[in-house]
């Protein structure tokens, strides 16, 4: 199993980490259904670590969400906001996109990376 962005979104892995708490990557791989542990998940977590979404305690070697990553996961369910977005006419979404790209340029780097990766995930077909 490759743990690529084609299957697991960053958010999927972050939700797993939130659910499981600090966890070794081997166990996380098993939780995600991998039969055997390869280096794939470790590499993926390494990149997510570089982007500031997750962190690894050097002593315990356990992976967990960073504070910023935790904020993203906890902010996920804003049902009212999602309903509002869904109700927007398509033309107004362009303005929403403009606001998002502005935040991409000006916001914090971790959120910018996550926005970019979400865009890649959502437009890959």
């Amino acid at each position: 199993m490759a743990f690529s962005m084609r299957e697991f979104r960053d958010l999927d892995l972050m939700l797993k980490l939130k659910e499981a708490g600090p966890i070794p990557s081997k166990e996380l791989a098993a939780e995600c259904g991998a039969d055997e542990f390869g280096s794939h998940l470790g590499r993926r977590l390494g990149w997510m670590n570089r982007y500031g979404m997750v962190e690894r305690d050097p002593k315990t070697k356990l992976w967990s969400l960073t504070e910023a990553g935790g904020r993203v996961v906890w902010a996920k369910k804003r049902a009212a906001l999602m309903d509002e977005l869904e109700a927007l006419p398509a033309e107004e979404l362009i303005e929403v996109m403009a606001a998002i790209t502005a935040r991409y340029r000006l916001g914090d780097p971790m959120t910018a990376v996550m926005l970019r990766r979400e865009f890649i995930f959502g437009t890959r077909r």
């Binding site: 199993m1 299957e7 697991f8 979104r9 958010l11 999927d12 939700l15 259904g33 995930f121």
Partner: protein, 151 residues
């Protein structure tokens, strides 16, 4: 080997070394140009011959039908089907272990409520995953995608 060359002598020596190679290069380029010309002529002749043959035997030499696009005939999930699946999952939260396409389709109530075609259920779940309504919890044996509703 302790020879010392003046700058002029060095330049002359370099020129002597490069001259034969430069000549060789010019010769190769001429050869390529000639052959490209020949190739272009041959292609033009081939086209004319094919044109004549196509008139005599169009089945064998006529234009080939274009291959069907891969997506042609592929079923596409409708927004209504996606919405129905979402509503059903909201109203009937699956158990905590997650669910996959086949497990949903085994449920008669689900099929009747959503009226989703079996060929597009995976697309619907992938779409709801992209919308963050679902999270991909794990991959099952055989590669099935096991989802959970995001709490």
């Amino acid at each position: 080997m302790d020879q010392h060359y003046s700058t002029e002598a060095l330049e002359r020596r370099l020129a002597e070394l490069t001259e034969p190679l430069a000549f060789e290069l010019r010769s190769i380029e001429e050869n390529i140009a000639n052959r490209e010309e020949e190739l272009a002529e041959l292609k033009a002749v081939r086209q004319r011959v094919i044109g004549v043959l196509a008139k005599i035997d169009p089945d064998l030499y006529g234009p080939k039908p274009k291959a069907k696009a891969k997506t042609e005939g592929k079923q596409t999930v409708t927004p209504e089907e996606i919405k129905n699946v979402r509503t059903w999952l909201e109203e009937h939260p699956p158990n905590g272990d997650g669910f996959w396409a086949a497990s949903l389709m085994e449920n008669k109530e689900f099929r009747e409520y959503t009226r989703i075609r079996s060929g597009v259920i995976m697309q619907a779940l992938a779409e709801l995953h992209e919308q963050s309504f679902l999270t991909l919890d794990r991959m099952g044996r055989g590669g099935s995608r096991i989802y959970k509703v995001v709490a």
